[in-house]
């Protein structure tokens, strides 16, 4: 029996579910919910055990095999997608990489732990001692990492099969202590679909290593530059993350859908990574080798664990005007994956970093079945599928615009296709971004008084950093961003300061895009959003007055909506109250909407919507004011 065969068998033994062939049956047995607590994960093998007397030394190297993402390689120019599971494939070879900083556990025949170790954070090597004697031990390299021997913490992460079992994956071999020192050689977690595919689990783990290495390289001493910034270092690591992955399993099965899905579950620190669809792998959507997807989800974990997200969730495909909280959250995820994957210093030895234009890759299948790239997107340049058409401020509402902006502040590219020459002078400014995200004061995203967070809040926080912070105004302009919350989530109070416009009103809107209902209306052009904080529970009256600017043509029809703090746009469940009266068609007079409602203390979102059902989409520029209990609501600072 070859070592590979032995490893396969032993690996299967260590897992509850391990199939050697694809099946059309869903692998959902025993699954209950992504929130299910499940049994406690086995304690981490955190300290080595010292032995006196006669000992042997066991050493070796742990590697994982990864199917690589190829896009029109020279050797196979028509190919797009995941390549082979074999490192010797002629045109689309797999990569073999060190398993970095992973748990090493040695047990005796009775299952007692007799030694603990950790693979090297650089080359995956390991070495430990065992008592010599006529004993055969089981050596497991496990898909998790934590602090070992009280030393440096490279990451805290576990890649497990499912919440209902909380079982990590193990690359297993046996070691005899009967002779002298033992070299296991290279232990490989393979990627072949016909095997346990442990390479996928270890690839996911290694992305977390790279992410942590990236953060350490950028913000280990962030607080020294920007007071209040959260440092990430070998002694102050990112908290623990759990990644759930199982070969052939689609996490969307939890929600009854056949569409391939990877997701992050906030408050649980749980990632769910797509392992296939109904058991199919080679010709189905998978994400376990899509490092863009894995790191995008890890980016959501960072939002949850290291700063704050107010994303409402919902559909997104990058090139649409969407809720700015969603655009910010998803744009951040796209950015952080590209930042990590393009940084050669944080990748495992031998990994070719993403070169050229930063991209987001999401594959389906592989060369052994049918391979595709479901999504291969340029995150540097605005392209035909991603053109900003609404002007300055629309970028705050577009996922890829957020991604492009963030990439511009860290990359060394000084010229963009859509920028004025020389306007991007930023590079390696990640620590400023991190400071804006992690500070609990100065408008930092962890400031508890904030709500409805979007990239506008980040812009304000970065601008307030002071010290060595740079001016990002030029690249904000290049990406059509507003550097504040004026387009979404502007904080308003009755003691704030308003502009007085031509009609005497305070705010302006110009109905533009035809839409038959609120949910389908353009969030940027035809809606304004304001953050209202109610300090004391009570009954409040909010009024909206509006009038046409030039007193001619079609009169606009503005409506007033008040949302709770979840504020999913157009969702009745989140709309506290609304006033949607029709205008009286007398152009030039002041129209009014009003609501009187009992409100608990908390954060609310006022939505002024220009109804654009025909003919109101042709209405002229309109100005409006808002009042709370008769007093003007005006922009203020938090």
């Amino acid at each position: 029996m070859s070592r590979a065969q032995l490893l396969f068998i032993m690996s299967c033994i260590s897992l509850a579910a391990c199939s050697s062939k694809e099946t059309s049956n869903t692998a959902t047995n025993g699954r209950i919910s992504p929130t299910y607590a499940g049994p406690a994960e086995a304690a981490y093998c955190a300290s080595s055990i010292a032995y006196g007397g006669s000992t042997i030394t066991v050493s070796g190297t742990a590697q994982y095999i990864r199917r690589e993402t190829y896009r029109n390689p020279a050797a196979n120019p028509s190919f797009e997608g995941l390549g082979s599971s074999s490192v010797s494939h002629a045109t689309l070879p797999a990569g073999a990489y060190p398993i970095r900083a992973a748990e090493v556990r040695v047990t005796d025949a009775a299952g007692n732990v007799v030694q603990c170790a950790q693979t090297s954070p650089t080359d995956g090597t390991f070495s430990f001692t065992l008592p010599s004697g006529n004993i055969t031990y089981k050596l497991s390299i496990n898909s998790r990492s934590a602090q070992f021997n009280g030393g440096s913490v490279y990451m805290i992460a576990s890649v497990l099969n499912k919440p209902e079992a909380n079982q990590f994956y193990s690359l297993v071999t046996t070691v005899s202590a009967a002779g002298g020192n033992v070299s296991t050689g290279i232990l490989q977690a393979t990627a072949a679909t016909s095997g346990p595919m442990l390479g996928a689990a270890f690839n996911i783990l290694d992305q977390f290593f790279s992410a942590n290495a990236y953060l350490r390289s950028k913000v280990a001493t962030c607080s020294a530059s920007f007071s209040g910034c959260t440092d990430v270092s070998l002694s102050t690591p990112v908290p623990k993350v759990f990644a759930y992955w199982e070969k052939g399993f689609n996490p969307n099965d939890y929600f009854g859908s056949s569409s391939g899905l990877s997701f992050y579950l906030p408050d649980y620190s749980r990632l769910f990574i797509l392992g296939g669809i109904s058991g199919a792998i080679d010709d189905a959507d998978t994400d376990h080798f899509d490092n863009s997807v894995v790191l995008h989800e890890y980016g959501h974990f960072l939002e949850d664990a290291m700063f704050e997200s107010d994303s409402p969730g919902g559909a997104h495909n990058g090139n649409k005007v969407i809720d700015p909280r969603l655009a910010w959250s998803e744009g951040w995820g796209n950015f952080i994956q590209a930042a990590i994957l393009t940084d050669p210093t944080v990748q495992a030895s031998g990994v070719a970093p993403m070169t050229g234009t930063p991209r987001y890759y999401d594959s389906s299948g592989n060369v052994d079945g049918s391979a595709d790239l479901f999504f291969a997107v340029n995150l540097e340049d605005m392209t035909g599928q991603d053109l900003v058409t609404g002007g300055a401020g629309e970028g705050n509402f577009r996922e890829f615009s957020v991604s492009r902006f963030l990439i511009d502040i860290v990359d060394g590219v000084s010229a963009e296709a859509t920028y004025p020459a020389g306007s991007d002078t930023m590079s390696d400014d990640f620590n400023q971004l991190w400071a804006a995200l992690t500070k609990t004061s100065g408008g930092g995203l962890r400031q508890s008084s904030l709500a409805f967070r979007s990239i506008g809040h980040m812009h304000l926080a970065q601008s307030a950093l002071g010290g060595s912070a740079t001016n990002w105004a030029a690249i904000r302009t290049g990406n059509y961003h507003d550097g504040d919350t004026s387009e979404y989530g502007q904080y308003v109070t009755t003691s704030g300061t308003c502009a007085t416009l031509s009609t005497g009103q305070n705010y302006a809107i110009d109905p533009t895009v035809l839409a038959t209902n609120l949910a389908s209306s353009n969030l940027f052009l035809d809606n304004d959003f304001y953050h209202l904080k109610i300090a004391t529970a009570g009954t409040y009256t909010i009024t909206l007055n509006y009038q046409d600017v030039d007193s001619s043509g079609q009169e606009a029809d503005l409506d007033l909506y008040l949302y709770n703090e979840d504020a999913s746009f157009g969702d009745a469940a989140d709309i506290v109250t609304r006033s949607t009266a029709d205008p009286n068609s007398t152009v030039g007079n002041v129209e009014a909407e009003a609501v009187t409602v009992a409100l608990a203390a908390g954060n609310y979102l006022i939505n002024v919507n220009a109804y654009t059902g025909s003919p109101f989409n042709n209405a002229g520029a309109t100005q409006y004011s808002m009042k709370l209990n008769g007093a003007n609501l005006c922009p203020d600072s938090l």
């Binding site: 009854g256 620190s269 109904s278 992690t438 038959t516 409506d559 059902g613």
Partner: protein, 219 residues
């Protein structure tokens, strides 16, 4: 089974096999979740909210390109070797694309009776999906996974999508998914979606969240 019942049964099957985004998009309507369905404003009179998709949890959807593929069964499903059945592929896009490729992938155990297995859609409009039908014969007593792949490009970007139909196991697979969804909903309702000790809540040392928030997931 009456004629009317047969029609209803086939309709349910046809709906149930619509894969991918169509499945997601229609879920709220089919399963009676909180949705504000409404007609055009000109018909409804008063302004309405429109359709907002609601999932079991509050979550985003995986970033996708504009292309979408859906496979639907037309008529009776195959039950044994020799049965002939028809699949309809629907290819749609959210923005106009040119030269969109589609191809049916037929595993062993299925053969083509009639129809194109691959072609190129010269111009795919955002308002008019492309439809193609293929007639197949089940040859084997084993299930076969038939897939429809679509691929497109635009200014350096690549987009693709895939939908699948299991010739013999589709009902079972859909039933399993629905059971899983039901289990998840039941558990989340009973546990109020609160983080457990084994979740990372206890590991989040930097800050905590308000416990009253809705459960959200991010893709």
């Amino acid at each position: 089974m009456s004629g009317q019942s047969i029609v209803m049964f086939l309709s349910v099957i046809a709906i149930s096999i619509a894969a991918g985004r169509a499945n997601d998009a229609s879920m709220a309507v089919r399963e009676g979740l909180s949705v504000n369905a409404r007609g055009p404003a000109s018909i409804g009179g008063k302004k309405e909210l429109g359709h907002v998709h609601k999932d079991l949890t509050k979550h985003t959807h995986k970033a996708r390109g504009p292309l979408s593929a859906v496979v639907e069964l037309v008529g009776a499903r195959p039950e044994q070797p020799g049965d002939v059945f028809v699949l309809k592929g629907v290819v749609s896009t959210e923005s106009a694309l040119e030269n969109v490729e589609f191809s049916w992938r037929l595993p062993e155990g299925v053969e083509v009776v009639n129809g194109q297995t691959s072609s190129v859609i010269a111009a795919l409009s955002a308002v008019k999906p492309f439809e193609t039908q293929i007639t197949l014969r089940q040859l084997s007593p084993a299930n076969a996974r038939v897939t429809l792949r679509v691929r497109g490009r635009d200014t350096g970007m690549s987009f693709a999508d895939m939908a699948a139909y299991h010739t013999l196991d589709q009902e079972q697979i859909e039933a399993t998914r629905l059971e899983m969804k039901s289990k998840t909903a039941e558990y989340m309702k009973s546990s109020s979606g609160s983080p457990s000790d084994s979740g990372a809540k206890g590991n989040l040392e930097t800050h905590s969240h308000s416990s009253g928030k809705k459960l959200k997931i991010f893709h």
